[in-house]
Every structure is written in structure tokens, then in C-alpha cells.
């Protein structure tokens, strides 16, 4: 943070009027002109999307029709509207005060640049794809100029004098020093806000997941800049405090959104992706107990997913499985799968949990490999014939209980639900179960003992915690949850084969990616692993445009993400303090005692 002579941003209304001489923008324009430029620019950008941008329909999204924006134009429209919204906020319009609580310039600058970036990206893409500027229509020129105005306006906003332009630019996008706490609102307003945000997030996610190549890049630009703007405006902190206050409601809304997702999908592919993400996320949450709470580094965790999957396959009645006569109903198969991985968890945990840190890591890695190799070799030729070796157990029949056959499509309220969407909904239920188990376990006596063990094992044992027993419980619980998810994954992928259960490979699920999902998402949190899982699945899917360079881009993305967010995207509040020395004491806001300490509670 550069040492600008910024006065603490107490939000008096007249803060914006510039004291003579000390505060001026890079571009010497009076404040009123700057704000006008921002507003006019925003509206113009939005308006320009209604004009024709190309004469041929070759360009994806067919931007040829006047009066109705298509493809990338929709994104420019959205960016233009957001810039206009923020511009109005600076005019102190009554209803929009909450948009820029600290009255800093960063959100304005970022939304303006966002609009500019997506418009110019589209314009350049048109030129590049259709060959030459000649393909631009008048609409395109207007859009290009219109999106430039807000940027000029933003850079003209008053700013504390800084000696170099580089620092001035940095100051422009700096987060406000002290974001004033939101005035207490009635609980039902808070819930309403959470619902709107959840619905909005679902819409954005559904739109984004469908977007292909150019559209996806434009989508990414708009989302990144808008999120950055909201973050610098301090709205993300307010929202996280909001969700913290009504924690269970926020999670309920999360699940409603998750259930809503397959309805927004026309084809079944993204439901298939969704169910893979959910399975991977549930297993990652199980690993989160072992790694995030109890601090035991487990590098062979995917083996428990394998145990669950193979057990379910064996009892699923597929004619390839050894006990082909037997067909368990789903709940029985799920229980046997979970029980089998529980037994495996205890078998693996008991001898090894006395080891410390990295020794435990290598032993669990060893067990992961032992599982994969033995399953691959047990085909009657080089081992007892239990798992058909490399051919695995194919043609596992679809689940059907209570008359609802998961194999066929069903129509609910006009939406067709494909096979994968059925499994997706089942998986949402199981994830809800696992999330409640995680939250309840982490916020209880045993949860506290796990965290105590992770913080300082010697002190914890001195407090009477039997280290070995507690670690074994964590290990076994994690294994059971992974086994449960495994039983569903067996039915989803029709067949169970040994090679996905490796330590590290190109595509998820494998142990290294599970660990990456937990650490990337945010260790010790509830939604972290799911976010991490979604990222690890969607990134390669969306990078497919780079063909054989996609894996390279994925590896680099992993490094960069870890470089800039070592504590994960949704940091567990207590972990965040460890790495960014905030310099000032972490004293919760001295608000009234009703401030629910949920934030600082273990594991929330």
C-alpha cells in the first residue's frame, strides 16, 4: 500500500468536493465533467449494443440484427449498464448509496475499464475473425468510442496527489482503507438480498457454462472486472458478514440454487459435468475434515472413492461383477460402500497415525498406489479374480428406487431432466447430508479437538485429548464420506475401472487434484472444496479451445492461483490471518454483543 496521505475515509457527504489543489485526477477535468463522462459513456455503450456490429452472420452470436443484441453484445450491454449504475451512485442517487459505501474511485475505474475491455475485445475479434476493419458497421465504431468515454471520465476523478503516475494508477484501483459497517437491516431484508444474490449467481453461472470460445472470453472479462470492482468497493466483505449472520439460510439458498441448476440446462452435458463436480466436491469435503480440520496430510485419499465405487459395482447386479446374482437396493449399496471404506480407513489409519506430517503423507500415498495396483491386478490371472482387473466392472445398471428410474428422462414442470440431471439431484441430496455432517462435526467438542491437534499436538494431549483416537475418527469419517460419494459415482459412470484412482494424472478425479480442490477452494471451510472442485473441472473444459496446450495452461493456472491466493479463494477467517500479517490486531468490530461470533467460530 503506497503511503498516500489519504485521510481516513470518514464518509461525510461532502467528501467528493475537491479541496483546492490537493486532489485532482490524472486527466485534468473538473469533477462534474468527469462524472458526466462516466454516466454518458455507460449509457452510450449500453445503447450501442442495439445497433448492427457486423454484416455477415459468420461471427458467432450473429451480431447483425438491429434492435436485439446477440452473443458478445449482451455482455457489452451488461458491462455498460453496470458502469451506468456505478456512475449514478456517485451522483448520490438515493437508492444506490450502498453500491460505493466508501466513496472510493476504484469501483468506478474498474467497471469502466471492464466495459472498455469487453467492447474492444469484441471489436478486435470481429476484425480478426472476418478479416479486416472493413467488416465494422457504424454501430461498431459508436460502441468503440462510447466505451472509451467512461475510462476517460474515471481517470479524471479526483484522487489524492501522488508523485508518480504509476502510484496514482495503483491508488485508483486500491481498496478503500476502512469500509464503514452497513447499518443494521431487518433480517428479512438480509435474506432477500441473499436470495437475489443466489439467483443472480445461478443465472451468471448457467450463462457462463454454456458460453463457447469467444463468448466465454468476453464473459470472463466482464465477470472478473465486475467482481474486482465489487471487491474494492468492499461489498464482498459486507456480503460475507451478511451470510455469516444468517449462516444456515445462506447455505439453504446455496442448495436451492444448486437444485435449480439442471433446470437451466438444455443439454445433458453440463448436468454430467455438474454431477462429476458434486461427487468430486463431496469427496474433497471429506478430505477437508482430514486435512483442513485435523491437519493430517493424506495423499492417497482417492482410494476411498475407489473402494466405495468398487463395492457398489460389485453389489449392483451388473453381470460382469463377481457376485452378479446379488442386486442391492441403492440405500443398502450406499451403506455397504461407506462401511467398506470405513473399514479401509481404519485399517490404513490405525498403524500409520502415529507418524508425523510428511511421513504420514508418503504412507497414505503408498496406500493409494497399493489400492490402484491391486485392483488392477485382481483379474484371476495375476491375482484373485475380484475386480476383473483392467476391464473393471462395466454395464452397471441404473439406479431406481421408489419407482423413479434414474436412467430415463423425466419432465418436471416443462423442463426435461436427463439421466445425468437425475443423478445430479440425487448427488445434491448426498452433498447436503455431507455438508451438515461436516458443519456439525466441526462445530462441536470433537471438531475443537481436531483443530487443537492441528494447532499444537503436544498442548492438545496435555489438555487430555487422546491424539491417536481423535485422528483415527477424523480419518475414518473422511473415508466413509468418500465411500458414500463413490457408490453414486459407480452408477453415474456406468462402469468402474482402476485407472482414474491414481496419485496424479491429467484429469480429475485423483488424489493430487482432490488436495488442490481443498487448498484452492479454502481449507477448513464448507463451500471451499466445492468451489475448488468446480474450478478444477471447468478450467480444463473451458481451456479446450487451446487443444493440446490446455494442460499446460491448466498447470500454469494452478501455480498462479497458489501464488496469489495461498489461503484459498474462500479463506477460513482464522487461516487468513496467518499469511497476510494485517498489522493491526484482529479485534472484531466493537459492535453490540449481538454480533454473532459465527465468523470466528471453529470451521464455519
Amino acid at each position: 500500500m503506497t503511503e498516500t496521505t489519504k485521510t481516513p475515509a470518514t464518509p461525510p457527504a461532502d467528501d467528493a468536493t475537491p479541496a483546492p489543489g490537493t486532489r485532482r485526477g490524472i486527466i485534468p477535468l473538473p469533477l462534474a465533467a468527469a462524472r458526466a463522462l462516466l454516466l454518458v459513456g455507460g449509457i452510450a455503450t449500453a445503447a450501442s449494443t442495439f445497433l448492427r456490429w457486423t454484416w455477415t452472420s459468420d461471427f458467432p452470436g450473429d451480431l447483425t440484427v438491429n434492435g436485439y443484441p446477440g452473443g458478445l453484445q449482451v455482455l457489452t450491454l451488461v458491462a455498460g449498464l453496470i458502469t451506468t449504475l456505478f456512475a449514478l451512485a456517485t451522483y448520490e442517487v438515493r437508492g444506490l448509496g450502498w453500491l460505493v459505501p466508501a466513496r472510493n474511485n476504484a469501483p468506478l475505474v474498474l467497471t469502466a475499464v471492464g466495459g472498455f475491455a469487453v467492447t474492444w475485445y469484441t471489436v478486435i475479434a470481429i476484425a480478426a475473425k472476418l478479416g479486416g476493419i472493413v467488416n465494422w458497421e457504424p454501430g461498431t465504431y459508436i460502441a468503440a468510442v462510447a466505451s472509451l468515454l467512461p475510462v476517460i471520465g474515471a481517470l479524471a476523478l479526483p484522487q489524492d496527489a501522488t508523485d508518480t503516475t504509476k502510484e496514482a494508477l495503483k491508488a485508483y484501483i486500491a481498496k478503500a482503507e476502512r469500509v464503514p459497517a452497513a447499518q443494521a437491516t431487518a433480517p428479512w431484508i438480509q435474506r432477500l438480498v441473499i436470495t437475489i444474490v443466489a439467483a443472480l449467481a445461478l443465472t451468471v453461472f448457467a450463462y457462463g457454462i454454456d458460453a463457447e470460445d469467444q463468448l466465454f472470453v468476453g464473459f470472463l472479462i466482464v465477470v472478473v472486472f465486475t467482481a474486482w470492482a465489487l471487491q474494492t468497493a468492499g461489498l464482498f466483505d459486507r456480503f460475507s458478514r451478511l451470510t455469516a449472520q444468517n449462516r444456515s439460510f445462506a447455505l439453504a439458498m446455496g442448495f436451492v440454487a444448486a437444485i435449480g441448476f439442471p433446470f437451466t440446462q438444455t443439454n445433458d452435458h453440463y448436468a454430467n459435468l455438474g454431477v462429476n463436480i458434486l461427487i468430486f466436491g463431496t469427496v474433497a469435503l471429506g478430505l477437508n475434515i482430514v486435512v483442513g480440520l485435523a491437519g493430517l496430510l493424506d495423499l492417497g485419499y482417492v482410494a476411498f472413492l475407489g473402494v466405495g465405487a468398487y463395492t457398489a459395482a460389485l453389489v449392483s447386479g451388473s453381470e460382469f461383477s463377481k457376485f452378479s446374482g446379488v442386486q442391492f437396493p441403492f440405500w443398502a449399496a450406499a451403506l455397504t460402500g461407506a462401511a467398506a471404506s470405513l473399514i479401509f480407513g481404519v485399517l490404513i489409519g490405525a498403524p500409520t497415525l502415529r507418524l508425523r506430517g510428511d511421513y504420514l503423507a508418503i504412507v497414505t500415498l503408498g496406500f493409494g498406489e497399493i489400492f490402484r495396483i491391486s485392483v488392477n491386478n485382481m483379474d484371476g490371472v495375476s491375482g484373485p479374480d475380484i475386480t476383473n482387473g483392467p476391464n473393471g466392472i462395466p454395464s452397471i445398471p441404473d439406479l431406481s428406487f421408489f419407482g423413479f428410474n434414474f436412467g430415463e428422462n423425466h419432465d418436471i414442470a416443462g423442463f426435461t431432466i436427463g439421466r445425468f440431471a437425475n443423478y445430479y439431484l440425487l448427488m445434491v441430496l448426498i452433498s447436503a447430508l455431507v455438508v451438515t455432517i461436516y458443519r456439525r462435526a466441526s462445530d462441536s467438542r470433537i471438531g475443537r479437538s481436531w483443530i487443537a491437534i492441528r494447532e499444537d499436538e503436544t498442548a492438545a494431549t496435555a489438555m487430555g485429548i487422546n491424539g491417536f483416537r481423535v485422528k483415527l475418527i477424523a480419518f475414518a469419517l473422511g473415508a466413509t464420506l468418500a465411500g458414500l460419494a463413490g457408490t453414486v459415482s459407480a452408477h453415474v459412470t456406468y462402469s468402474v475401472v482402476p485407472n482414474p484412482y491414481q496419485f496424479a494424472g491429467a484429469a480429475p478425479p485423483n488424489s493430487a487434484f482432490l488436495l488442490a480442490a481443498v487448498v484452492l477452494g479454502g481449507m477448513g471451510t464448507v463451500s471451499g472444496p466445492f468451489l475448488g472442485a468446480a474450478l478444477l473441472y471447468l478450467l480444463p473444459e473451458k481451456l479446450v479451445a487451446l487443444q493440446d496446450k490446455s494442460l499446460l495452461a491448466f498447470g500454469i493456472a494452478l501455480i498462479l492461483l497458489m501464488r496469489f491466493r495461498p489461503e484459498g479463494i474462500i479463506p477460513n477467517r482464522r487461516r487468513q490471518l496467518e499469511f497476510h500479517e494485517t498489522g493491526q490486531l484482529d479485534v472484531p468490530d466493537t459492535t453490540t454483543l449481538t454480533d454473532d461470533p459465527a465468523i470466528t467460530k471453529a470451521g464455519a
Binding site: I437, R440, A441, S444, R445, I446, G447, R448, S449, I451, A452, E455, D456, T458, A459, A460, T461, A462, M463, G464, I465, N466, G467, I473, L477, R574, R575, L577, E578, L585, D586, V587, P588, P597, T600, K601, A602
Partner: protein
């Protein structure tokens, strides 16, 4: 207790009865903390046993605490990233029994036990005066308060015997006096206290009895003035008196001044 060739503690038998404060002093490297670690099961004593209220305790730290002996550490070992309240709640671990199942089912038993633990923890926090900081992270408390929190955490397991390992190390005078009142209050609650300390004035007006440990052996045990007068203790602390035969008073003042300086021998425990 032997580490390879070095016998850190040899044939030290010791009794502390309820409601009594006993001091354990000795120059650096006398084996005080090693003795502590044997007592609390951190080290497995090569010979001899630790028995509490008659029953012999296995050298397992968590069983020792369950039996009723709680301890603090020489260098503070709080759960840095847990809040003050949570640290004390962890202390209550041995006195509660809700396992994984009760946590998952959240039956009435679980809620009652959690509320009871929280109340008991808040009582303890009031007792040491940190109730208003229940949601602060332990790592952010000033040094003195961290010491007090560690004592509260130890008390949370309802011990019969509390072992304090240099509770006033690095404290300023009024903090030391505050700790004194605290220990007296603990003693009045009927808990036996065993204190290791270098601050002579603190020890002598705090403890009913004092034992001196030198080179792993118990030199003398008795009331504080008996121990002060014993020239072997003075010799152990100051070394042989300079052959010019000085009387007690000067030895007394010298003892005062030297204890402050750290002795040359490295800390061996």
C-alpha cells in the same frame, strides 16, 4: 530420568497435598522442567512411577490430565488460531464425553453439555478477568493475558493438582502481583499448586513449602525461610562463597542480584 548418559533427575520423590502451594526452585539446568515432563507423561521416566491420589499413572499425557493433573508450559503453547473461549473449551475436553455421534445427531444431551461447558468456561474467564475478550484470537492477546488464559485452560479440566511452569517469566511487577492473587484464589478453591519459578520474592511469599533441585537431586525441602537460610542452596545459586567469609546479609543481597542474570550454563532441560 536419564537421557543417554546424563541423569537429569535422580530419585526425587515429592508429595503435594490439597490446598497447598509448593514451590520448586533451582538454578538453570537443575532438571525442573524435565521433572515436570516426567510428571505429566510427556517423557517416559526410565525408573520410578508417578502416582496421584494413590493410583499409578501411565506415562500418557492425556490420561494424566484425565486423572486430574493439569499443567501450563514454560513457553506459552496456546491454540493460537482459536478464540479465547475455544481454548478454554478444549480444556474442558476430559470433563465432557460427547463423541462424534452425539455431535452429528445433536440430541438434547449434546446441547445441554455444550451449554454447560460454555457456562463453565465463561466462569473461568470471569475468574481470570478475560470474559470480555472471549472472541479474540489467542494469538492477539498481550503476553500477560496469554499467561492467564493458559492457566484458565488448565483449570478447565477441573484438576486436583495444577503445575505452573514459570508463570511469571517475562512479567512486570504488577502482573506478577496479579498472578500471585490468582494463585492464592486457586489455592482457596482447594486445588494443590506446584510452581517452578526463578523470581525468589514471588516464590517466598507465595509458597507454603519450597523444594530446591540441583543437578537433578532434591537438595532440601521445607518452609521458605528454612530454605533461604540453608547455605547449600546459596552455594548452589552463587557458587562457593569467596574465601573472605561474608555474613548472611550480603549473601542475601547477592542472591537477589544474581538470580536476575541468566547463568552461563546453557538451558539443559
Amino acid at each position: 530420568m536419564r537421557f543417554g548418559g546424563l541423569t537429569a533427575v535422580r530419585s526425587v520423590d515429592f508429595t503435594v497435598n490439597a490446598g497447598e502451594i509448593v514451590g520448586l526452585i533451582g538454578p538453570n539446568g537443575a532438571g525442573k522442567t524435565t521433572f515436570f515432563n516426567c510428571l505429566t507423561g510427556l517423557y517416559v521416566p526410565t525408573e520410578g512411577t508417578v502416582s496421584y491420589q494413590g493410583t499409578v499413572l501411565p506415562p500418557k499425557p492425556h490420561l494424566v490430565t484425565k486423572a486430574g493433573i493439569a499443567r501450563t508450559f514454560q513457553n506459552i503453547r496456546l491454540f493460537a488460531n482459536m478464540t479465547v473461549l475455544e481454548n478454554v473449551l478444549v480444556g474442558r475436553h476430559t470433563r465432557t464425553k460427547e463423541g462424534l455421534w452425539s455431535a452429528l445427531l445433536r440430541g438434547p444431551g449434546f446441547k445441554k453439555a455444550e451449554k454447560a461447558s460454555e457456562e463453565r468456561a465463561m466462569e473461568l474467564l470471569d475468574f481470570i478477568g478475560l470474559a470480555h475478550k472471549r472472541d479474540h484470537l489467542a494469538r492477539n492477546l498481550p503476553y500477560g493475558e496469554q499467561r492467564k488464559l493458559e492457566i484458565a485452560r488448565a483449570l478447565a479440566s477441573e484438576p486436583g493438582l495444577l503445575l505452573l511452569d514459570e508463570p511469571t517469566a517475562g512479567m512486570n511487577p504488577q502482573e506478577t502481583r496479579a498472578t500471585e492473587e490468582l494463585v492464592f484464589a486457586i489455592r482457596d478453591k482447594g486445588i494443590a499448586v506446584l510452581v517452578i519459578e526463578h523470581d525468589m520474592r514471588f516464590i517466598f511469599n507465595l509458597c507454603d513449602r519450597v523444594a530446591v533441585l540441583v543437578q537433578g537431586e532434591k537438595l532440601v525441602e521445607g518452609t521458605s525461610d528454612v530454605v533461604q537460610a540453608d547455605e547449600r542452596v546459596v552455594a548452589a545459586y552463587l557458587g562457593e562463597p569467596f574465601d573472605g567469609g561474608t555474613d548472611d546479609t550480603t549473601a542475601e543481597t547477592e542472591a537477589e542480584s544474581t538470580t536476575g542474570t541468566t547463568s552461563t550454563k546453557g538451558e539443559a532441560q
